[in-house]
């Protein structure tokens, strides 16, 4: 290992010491301390004590109040496992402490044909869906889970798709057909059974109404289903049902090269465009050891912020439409058209430019980009003022949204809520400030905060966030560094063109790197970014190949939807629609 690589391990060392200190009472249960490129301490612990260990870590002094992520890896085909405990499957728990701005990854090794481990739903409420997900996709049983059923795949599905022995391609199966009989079976399987969820059908002689909202509903923002148990207008309980938008992006990453997976990232949070490329390419660059030039960093920030504005504008239009205001969407889409003019001028595409590259960008900024961006920067502020006057200061909107679907910081952390929805509760946690990446430390901007964590605050905060994004973009225009748009590194993909024209050897290298793709050393890396809807991260495991061994995509909307029942019990149907509008989710960001 080069000294350079050792240096990159260094920042984690103090964190490892602190983590070991916090787990002093559990020393004999810690199997291994894994060195990674994630920048976080990674500890392997024994399965038997996982519940106690997590409970200990959640309480003070450790105060890891949020279960940020929970997923698994099928380790059976992994070739480079130097020093790691023997495992067929690994389950990892990513804990986050907002107070101390510190993370910890706990891993548990599972062996044998029937992998299982104790459920941690009693410690972290939001482990519920994550454990259902690893049952669904890996076949790992969480014993003691209150409702261990499929989450993403249909209830009639066979097999566990993220296992290494499960075929990835649809074309490896028989072509899809739907028969009249099959249609009836599937419809029957979709039927909601209240008893299966421990729900009563009636109370004091009067029947509850079960309302099936979705999978296609105008205010559900895509293929999302939620079954409501109603007593009149009041929601007694509700059960969200997801998985109608599962595109298998994590499995896809195991067959696309590091380079050719970039376009798939755009389509995760499909209103976020290149914002999705950012955590992925940053994580790959960590694995490859690439340091990009300042110009690349600044252009990446500029385009990511453009997409934040475009996504927030979409939010604003649909949010107010869900409240019953018809015209705002026409205004905000007019602005989005302006944003797309800039985005298309620079990247050549509207929604999914896939414009970032490993070690750089697809191309340099076009001649005359400053004026294009400046026009947008001059256009937006009066529009935002108008939105605030016409909508957020509107008495009807205020009455309709104030103190509706409000939650506190503690509740938000318990459910893994991040991003604007967390900041609306007054919690000052924005990764661009707390853990700056891609040069955010060089920008002057503020982090808007809410007070009440209600539907109103979530809307108002996003308008303020757009202002701050405009500020950041203005600084990009004013101080764009000169320099190259690609890093001078052997793993930069596609490699700089000048390198290939020297002689036949360089041409062959170039050809291999473009067709075969770059080969990255074995290792694990992780990058979190403050995406449009919350914290989005890519946890990459390389097995020394030209594609990833496992790509875990942690998306913010998944926990946001899981939180709905805890918030809406006792609420009214129209309030739930207002809440759905205010959390800003897209289903691809939930189901991936």
């Amino acid at each position: 290992m080069s000294t350079d690589a050792l240096d990159r391990h260094a920042p984690a060392q103090s964190g490892i010491d602190r983590a070991l200190g916090l787990l002093d009472g559990f020393r004999e249960h810690i199997e291994h301390v894994q060195p990674t490129l994630t920048g976080l301490p990674v500890l392997w612990v024994r399965r038997e004590r996982i519940v106690e260990i997590l409970r200990h870590l959640k309480a003070p002094p450790a105060s890891f109040s949020m279960l940020y992520d929970l997923s698994a890896v099928d380790e059976r085909l992994r070739a480079h496992r130097d020093g790691l405990p023997a495992a067929d499957f690994t389950v990892f728990y990513h804990l986050l402490s907002v107070d101390r701005n510190e993370d910890l990854i706990i891993k548990v090794a599972l062996t044998g044909g029937d992998p299982n481990l104790p459920s941690v739903t009693r410690v972290f409420a939001n482990a519920n869906w994550y454990e259902r997900e690893i049952w669904d996709l890996f076949g790992i049983t969480a014993t003691g889970h209150p409702h261990l059923q499929r989450l993403l795949m249909p209830p009639t599905w066979h097999g566990h798709p993220l296992r290494k022995d499960y075929p990835a391609r649809a074309t490896e199966f028989d072509p899809y057909t739907l028969t009249v009989e099959g249609q009836q079976t599937e419809q029957e399987a979709l039927k909601f059974e209240p008893e299966a969820w421990g729900m009563q059908r009636e109370r004091d002689g009067s029947e509850f109404m079960f309302l099936n909202l979705g999978p296609n509903h105008p205010s559900a923002h895509g293929a999302f289903r939620i079954v409501l148990q109603l007593d009149g207008e009041e929601i007694i309980d509700c059960v969200p049902d997801i998985g109608y938008h599962h595109r298998g992006a994590e499995k896809m990453a195991e067959r696309q090269t590091w380079h050719s997976f970039i376009p798939y990232t755009d389509r995760i949070d499909y209103t976020g465009g290149v914002m999705n490329n950012l955590p992925y390419v940053l994580a790959v660059e960590k694995l490859a050891g690439i340091e990009v030039p300042d110009r690349v960093k600044t252009v990446r920030v500029m385009m990511a912020e453009m997409f934040r504005i475009s996504s927030h504008l979409l939010f604003l239009g649909t949010y107010l439409q869900d409240l019953g205001a018809m015209s705002p969407v026409f205004y905000s889409f007019t602005d989005r058209q302006r944003a797309y003019k800039v985005i298309e001028g620079i990247t050549g595409f509207r929604m999914h430019p896939a414009w970032y590259r490993i070690g750089g960008l697809a191309q340099d900024l076009p001649v005359g980009w400053q004026q294009l961006v400046q026009e947008f920067l001059d256009w937006m502020p009066p529009r935002l003022r108008e939105y605030e006057l016409a909508m957020m200061k509107n008495a009807l909107v205020r009455e309709r949204t104030r103190h509706v679907a409000a939650f506190t910081t503690t509740e938000a952390l318990e459910w893994g809520v991040t991003g604007p929805n967390l900041r609306a509760t007054g919690c000052n946690f924005d990764l661009r400030k707390q853990r700056p990446y891609s040069g955010y430390e060089n920008f002057d901007f503020e982090v808007p905060l809410g007070q009440h964590g209600d539907v109103f605050d979530r809307g108002q905060l996003r308008i303020e966030e757009m202002r701050q994004s405009l500020r950041i973009i203005q600084q990009c225009v004013d101080h764009m560094p000169a320099g190259d748009y690609k890093a001078d590194h052997p793993l930069t993909t596609p490699p700089p063109r000048e390198r290939m024209l020297q002689h036949i050897e360089t041409l062959i290298t170039h050809f291999l790197q473009v067709s075969w793709g770059p080969v990255l050393k074995p290792g694990e890396s992780l990058q979190m970014v403050e995406a449009t809807k919350g914290i989005n991260s890519y946890y990459l495991t390389s097995d020394g190949n030209n594609m990833s061994y496992r790509t875990r995509i942690r998306t913010p909307s998944f926990p946001h939807l899981q939180q709905i029942p805890s918030l809406m019990r006792g609420g009214f149907v129209p309030d739930m629609i207002a809440h759905l509008g205010s959390i800003d989710f897209v289903m691809a960001d939930v189901d991936r």
């Binding site: 649809a170 074309t171 199966f173 599937e186 419809q187 999978p215 895509g222 499995k251 376009p263 001028g345």
Partner: protein, 225 residues
């Protein structure tokens, strides 16, 4: 003009595959009956074209979205693109009130029975636009959870290429659907003439625009706006 004729089956078997109905190539039925009654032929032409004119200019879309393409479809509904120019601004939230359904996005195996159900709930006459690569063929998602093209179980009238297609492409698809509706022959009444649905075979734009496309020899470089 050659037509593709769909006949509804009287009897349904439980093993029948979607799309239901028998389809075959055919000549327009009026032609074969022309010798028998010249006058009726002409009247039905006038009637057909009047009814089709009405149908094609007030197509009500079903508010149905799956993924990314839906965002571009919605963009076409808003003021910069203004779908009202083509008489399709009346977005219906219920399939029973809608005339056509746009499969805007990826068709998932979990979603397919739901899409079929919604399609069945739409009333005739109804049409389907498949918007974007995923709906056309699965596109870049050749993956276990995705149906490789919505035409595996729905009869599609217009395919729109793109990932996602621009709003302008969607508007063009709408106009193509209108052109096709103008040529359609449907039963004018339950007692008049043939009861089949005759859809014109319009040919693909890819073929029709080929010569125009290959005329372009110089493309703009990306380093200028």
């Amino acid at each position: 003009m050659p037509y593709r004729l769909t006949r509804a089956e009287e009897e349904q078997e439980s093993s029948d595959r979607y799309p239901l109905g028998r389809r075959q190539s055919s000549e327009e039925y009026v032609k074969s009956q022309l010798e028998r009654n010249v006058f009726t032929g002409k009247l039905s032409d006038v009637l057909n074209s009047a009814v089709n004119w009405g149908r094609k200019n007030s197509l009500w879309p079903y508010n149905f979205g799956l993924s990314c393409c839906y965002v571009e479809m919605t963009t076409a509904f808003t003021s910069p693109h203004d779908i009202a120019r083509f008489g399709s601004e009346v977005i219906r939230a219920s399939p029973r009130q809608a005339d056509f359904m746009v499969i805007a996005g990826t068709c998932f195996i979990k979603m397919a029975p739901v899409i079929q159900q919604l399609y069945d709930q739409m009333l005739e006459p109804k049409w389907v636009i498949s918007m974007g690569s995923c709906a056309n063929s699965g596109g870049m998602y050749d993956i276990y959870s995705v149906v490789q093209g919505v035409d595996k179980f729905l009869p599609v009238d217009v395919y729109v290429a793109g990932c996602p297609p621009r709003p302008e492409a969607f508007l063009q698809a709408l106009q193509l659907l209108q052109d096709s509706i103008q040529e359609e022959r449907r039963p004018l009444s339950w007692v008049v003439g043939d009861q089949g649905v005759y859809k014109a075979e319009m040919g693909s734009q890819r073929e029709q625009k080929r010569s125009q496309r290959i005329e372009a020899t110089e493309l703009r470089t990306p380093d200028k706006l």
